[in-house]
Assembly symmetry: D2
Homo-oligomer: 375 residues x 4
C-alpha cells in the first residue's frame, strides 16, 4: 500500500513564488503530503496560508524553531522539511531541523555566506538526517542525457564548457516594496553579497558541474551593477579553468532585454559537442565530429535510461520546469526512505558548499580586477 | 480551509498511459484526491493498481457499474469520476455514473460511435451531474492566448484555418499484444471506425474550433491505411469549409517519420496570422500584416489574462503537457463546486458530439472519394 | 581560355524584378555576358535600360521579333535568350527565338495557357535550339540533396508528399498601377487564368516533382479569391494522389500574414522523412525511422556530391536564392555548349507543360467543387 | 552607358578559396571586370589560372611587383587590385600597389604583424589610392539594420556586447600539405602569431565594432592551443571593457564540434536587445524591454533604408555570404569612382589597424595570464 511522506515547509506563504513551485513539485509524483508549515514570519500570513493549503491549525506554526521541536516530538511528525525562505534564513532554519534529525530539502544557494555554509556542513555531519539541495535544473531529463553522453565518453576529453543564465527583469530599478522577489534579492543582508552571481550564476555553475562531473579550479571574474543604485551585481561574467585542462566561461545577467530564463550550456570535447537550453528543455543537440548534428528528444530514439527513467509522458509531449523540480522531490523521497545510494544524482550539501566557494571566489576576483582566483 | 474533491477513476491500471496522466493532472493544483477506482477489467490488476495508488481496498472495485452504485450510496462518495478506458468503454461507463448523478471527466473521443454519442447527450441532459471532456490541448496557456487574439479581432475576418497532428509511431505494423496503446487503437471494435482521424484528428479539430470559435460546415476527406493489414486509417487529410467563408485543412497522420506529437495550427485573417505548435507550447507567433512578427511567450509581455490566469511559473520556465492537462482538472473542480459558468472554457459534451459527427463525416466523405460532406 | 556565352534578354527593363535576378544569376559563375536585349515594350525604357546595363545601342532592340531575326543574322549573335516578361509573352517570344534556332532560357510558368504550352512543345521539337525553364528552386543544393535521399532509397516507398508556398503580399487589394509586380499578376489577360496556383503553386509542384521524381495523377482542388474584386485565385489548396500510391497536398496562398516566401516541403516514406524550407535553404532535416533526427547542412558532413557539386562557399556560409538561380544558368551554359546530358537536372519544357496541365486540372477541379480531376 | 572598373588580383589561383569568393563578389553587381592577375607564386599555376579566368596572357603576371608597375604604366591599367593571399603577403603586395597609386581591396586581417600594419598606414597616407578592407560581414543587410537600431537609440546606452565566431574544422590536427587553407593558417610565419584570434576573432571584433560604433578599450584574454603540436591558438576567449562602460566577451574557436561558421552577436542596452547570427543572416531579433520580441527580416516590415538599400531580392528569398561580400565590392566601386564619402560604411585601413592592435593585445594579455591589457 502506497504511503506518502509527511512534509513540512518553512517560508512559501502568500506572495512567495518558489514555495508554490516546491509544493507542486512535491505533489506531482505523489510521494509527499504537506502537513505542517511555518509559512511566513508574519503570523497572520502564516495562519492564512496554512489554512489555504489544508494544513491543520495546530501544525500552522509562526516560528520555525518551535516547529522543528514540536514536529520532532510528535509521533506523526514530518519526515522532511522544505526550506523556501530568502537566502539569509537557509542557515538558521536548516540548522534547527538538522539538529532535530529532520531531513532537509533546501532551496539554493546553500546559505548567504561561505562561513555559514561551512558551519552547516559540520552540523549536517553530526545529524542523522539527510540534506538535499534543490538545484532543480539537474532534474531535466535531457540534462541527465547530456551527463550520460559526457560520461559515456562520446565527447572525448572536454575542451570547452560554456554556460550562461540570462534574464532581463532587473534591467530597470525595482523599488516597489511589494515586489518581494525583487526586493530581497537586491538586499545584501537577505540575499548575501552576490546578486546575479548567487541567484542565477550558481544555477549555471551547478548545471555545468552536474553534466561534466568536473568543477572549475579558478575564475577570472568581472561583476557589474549596471543599474544605478543597485547594491549587488546584476551581471557577472568570468573565464574559468578546469583541473584537467578544459576552459570555459560563465555569464549570468539580469539586465539583458529579450531574455526570460535563458539558461544555456554548450560543451565541446575532442570528439563531439552538445548544447542544451532550458527554455526548450525537451531537446538536446548532439554533434559528433565529422557527422551530421543530431537532435535528441526526451524519450526519443537514441536516448538512454538516465533520461528515460525520469520521463513521465511520451516523446513530443513537452515536460517543463515543474516536472524537473518534481524529479528532485521524487529522488529526495527515495533518499528519505532508503538512504542516499551511490547512484543518486541529487545535489549534495557539498555541491552547495562548492557553489558558495564559487560565489566567494568570483566576488574576490572581481574586486581584484579579474585576477585568477582559486575556488 | 482547503478541502479536496474526492475523485474516482475507471481504467488507468498498470500498463496504461493516459490514466497516469490524469492522476498527475488532478494532483498538480491539489483540487482532487483519488479515493476510489475500477482501474482494470482484470481483477488482479485492478486490486494491485489500487494498492499502489493508495486507494483503500474497499474502494478498489473490479466492476465500474458496481462502483457507480456503491460510491453513489456512500456518504463520502466520490465527487467525480475520471474515465480513462479505451474508446468503446467511454459510453457505458459515462452512462453508469451520469445515471447516479456523479460528475464525469471523460477522455476523448466522446464515444466510439456517433450513435452512442447522441444517446449520451440525452443521458447527460437528464442527469444532475456535470460532464467534462478532457481535450487537454485547450488547457495550454498560449492556446488560450491565441483564442484571445482571434476573439479580440486582431486577425480580422478569418480566411484560413490549417491544423495538423502528426506522429510516426505507427509507421510499421505493431503486432506486439503487450503494446496496449497500439493494439486497442488499431482495433475498430475498441477504438471505433476511425484510426488517426479519431485518435489525433479530433484533437486537431477541437484545437482549431477552440481557438477560432468556429466549426467547419463540411469536409472533403481522403483517409488512408498505409500500413498493410491495418483495419483503420493511419493518415487522414481533408479540405474544410467554414460557414463564414474561411477555408482550411486538417491533416492527421501516424506514419510520418520524424514526428512525435507534432500538433500545429496556423490561422490567417485579413489583418494578421498566428501559429502555435504543441511541441514548444510556451511560444505563440503573432504576425500583424505589414509589421514585424512577434514572438509571444507564456506569461510574457503583451499577453492577456486569458493565458496569464492559468500560468503557474514565471515566463521562460517552460510549462508542458501535464500543466495544460492540470488546467482542465482545475477548471473541472470549479465546475463541480460552482456549476458551469458562462466564462468557462472547458470542452462540453456538445463539443465531443461535434467531434463524433466530424469523424463520421470524414469517413463518409472518404468512402465517397472525397466528396464534400456536411458535418 | 575561358570564353563567355553571349546572352540576350527579353523583358527585364527598369522597374522589373525578375530580370535583374536573371542577370545576376547569369553573371555569378561567369558563363554569360549580356550583349543584347529587348528589355521593354516601351522604347524609351528599352533604350535607357540597355544603356544602364552596358548593352551597345545597336543591340538595344524595342521589338523582340526584330531582335530574334537580327541576332540570328549576326556572326556574333547571341547564344541564348532569357525571357523574363509577364506570362502571356512567354509563348510568342519563345516561339520567335526557337524558330531562329536560338536557345531559350524562360521564366516559369511555361505559358499563360495549356493550349499555348502544347504548341510550344511542337515548336521546340522542330527547333535545333535547347529550351530551359528556370524553376530556380531546383538549383538549391539541399533540394538536390533531398532528391538524392529519395533516389537512394533512404526513405523507402513514399507515402506523403506535402508542399506549400505561402506569401502575404496580396492580403489587401493592390490597385497601385505603379506596382508592376502586382498588376500584371492580377490580370488574367497577362498572367493567365491562374493566380496563386500559377504564380507560386507551380513552383511548389515542380519542387515536389523534382525531389520525388513522381508526378501527381489527379487533384481535388479548392481555389479561392479571398480579396474582394480579385479576378484570379489568391489561395489554392488541393489533395493530390500519385500513381504509386503516395498522397499529398499542395497549398499556395498569397494572403497569409507573416509569410514572405515560405516554400516548404515535407516528404514521408516507409523508412524516413525529410523537410526543407526555402527561407533557410542551407539546412535539410532527415529523419530516419526509429533514430534521432539529423540536420544536414549544405556542404556539411553526410551530404552527397549531388549537392556538393553546386556549392560555392564553405559550410556555414549561407548561399541563397541568387546562387540557386545561378546554378540553373551554369547548367544551362553546359547544355548550350555540350547538349543536354542524361544526368542534367534542369527542368525541361515537358516539365513546364506538366505544370500547365496541373494549373488547368486544378482550376477545372475547383470549378467542379473539388472533384478529383486527372492532370 | 555603364562602364565596368578594371580589376586585378594577387593570389587566388587554383586551390585557393577566398580568391574565388572575391571574384564572384566583384561580378554580382557588375561593377568590375577582372583583366589582370598575379594569381599564384607558382608561375605555372598563375598562367593556368589566368587562362581559366579569361585573363589575356600578357596580363597574367607571375610577380606582383612587376604587375603593379606594368599595370600602372598601361593606359588601360587596372583601377583596383584585390589582395587575396595568405596574411604575410598582404603588406608587401598592398605596399607595391599603393606606391603605384593603384586602389587596393585587401582581405583581412590587415597584415601579419602590428608593425607592418603601422607602416602600411603611413604608406597609404602618402598614396593617392584608396584602401578597402573586406570585412565582408558588415555587408550583410541585417548587420546594417542592427547598426541602424543602435545608432537610432533604440537600445539606449549599451551594457553588454557579446560576440563569438565558432568553427570545428581544426578539432583534429591537419597535417595534409595539400590542404592549403589549413597549412598556411597554422604556420605563424605566414599567418602571423595569432591563430583563431586572427583568422576569425578579428571578424567577430569588427562585426561588434561595426554595429555598435564602439571599440573595446582593454581585454583580459585566455588563448589556447587545444590540439597538440599546434603552434598558434585554436581557441581564444576574452573579457572586454569599453570606454563608455559597456562590457563584453569575444570567443573565437576552431575546435567546437557542430559549428561550421557560427558567427553570432548579442547586444544589450538599457532599453532593448538584439541578436544576429551569420548562418541565418536574413533575420534579426529585436527585443524592446517590456514588449514582445520582434523578428525583423531582410527587406521586411519595420526595417530601414540602411538595410533595404543593399538588398537585391524580395523578403523571404534568402541572400547569403556572397551577396554580403558583393556589397563590399559595390561600395568599393563607389569609392573608386567618387572618393570615400562620409556616409560610406566600408571598413577602413584604420579599422584594420585596430584589428591588429587587438590581436597584439589579446596575445599579450594571454601571455600575462589574462591580465587586463590596453588595445
Amino acid at each position: 500500500m502506497h504511503k506518502r511522506l509527511k512534509l513540512g515547509m518553512v517560508g512559501g506563504g502568500q506572495g512567495a513564488f518558489i514555495g508554490a513551485v516546491h509544493r507542486i513539485a512535491a505533489r506531482i509524483d505523489d510521494e509527499f503530503e504537506l502537513v505542517a508549515g511555518a509559512l511566513s514570519s508574519n503570523p497572520d500570513n502564516a495562519r492564512k496560508s496554512a489554512a489555504q493549503l489544508g494544513i491543520s491549525p495546530e501544525r500552522a506554526y509562526t516560528d520555525f524553531s518551535e516547529m522543528a521541536k514540536a514536529e520532532a516530538a510528535r509521533e506523526d511528525g514530518i519526515d522532511a522539511v522544505s526550506i523556501v525562505t530568502p537566502n539569509h534564513m537557509h542557515f538558521p532554519v536548516a540548522k534547527a531541523f538538522l539538529e532535530q534529525n529532520i531531513n532537509v530539502i533546501c532551496d539554493k544557494p546553500l546559505t548567504s555566506s561561505l562561513d555559514e555554509a561551512k558551519q552547516l556542513q559540520d552540523i549536517a555531519a553530526n545529524s542523522e538526517a539527510e540534506f538535499v539541495l534543490t538545484h532543480n535544473y539537474s532534474g531535466y531529463p535531457m540534462v541527465r542525457e547530456a551527463r550520460h553522453l559526457v560520461q559515456s565518453g562520446a565527447l572525448g576529453a572536454l575542451r570547452r564548457i560554456n554556460v550562461e543564465y540570462v534574464q532581463d527583469w532587473l534591467s530597470i530599478p525595482i523599488n516597489d516594496p511589494d515586489n518581494k522577489q525583487a526586493t530581497w534579492r537586491a538586499d545584501p543582508k537577505r540575499a548575501g553579497k552576490g546578486g546575479a552571481i548567487a541567484d542565477i550564476g550558481t544555477h549555471a555553475l551547478q548545471l555545468a558541474n552536474f553534466i561534466t562531473e568536473q568543477h572549475p579550479a579558478k575564475v577570472a571574474a568581472d561583476l557589474t551593477s549596471f543599474v544605478e543604485g543597485r547594491l549587488v551585481d546584476d551581471d557577472a561574467h568570468m573565464l574559468m579553468r578546469y583541473p584537467d585542462g578544459a576552459k570555459g566561461y560563465l555569464w549570468a545577467s539580469q539586465v539583458a532585454p529579450g531574455n526570460e530564463n535563458s539558461l544555456r550550456i554548450q560543451i565541446y570535447g575532442e570528439n563531439a559537442g552538445l548544447t542544451w537550453a532550458q527554455e526548450n528543455p525537451n531537446q538536446l543537440w548532439f554533434s559528433p565530429l565529422n557527422a551530421p548534428k543530431q537532435l535528441l528528444t526526451r524519450g526519443g530514439h537514441g536516448t538512454s535510461n538516465l533520461s528515460r527513467d525520469i520521463t513521465r509522458v511520451p516523446p513530443g509531449h513537452p515536460e517543463g520546469y515543474l516536472e524537473g523540480f518534481a524529479t528532485i522531490y521524487r529522488e529526495a523521497a527515495d533518499i528519505i526512505r532508503n538512504g542516499r545510494m551511490q547512484s543518486c544524482l541529487l545535489p549534495t550539501l557539498e555541491e552547495g558548499l562548492f557553489g558558495m566557494k564559487f560565489i566567494h571566489a568570483a566576488i574576490q576576483s572581481s574586486e581584484n580586477d579579474a585576477t585568477w582566483t582559486q575556488i
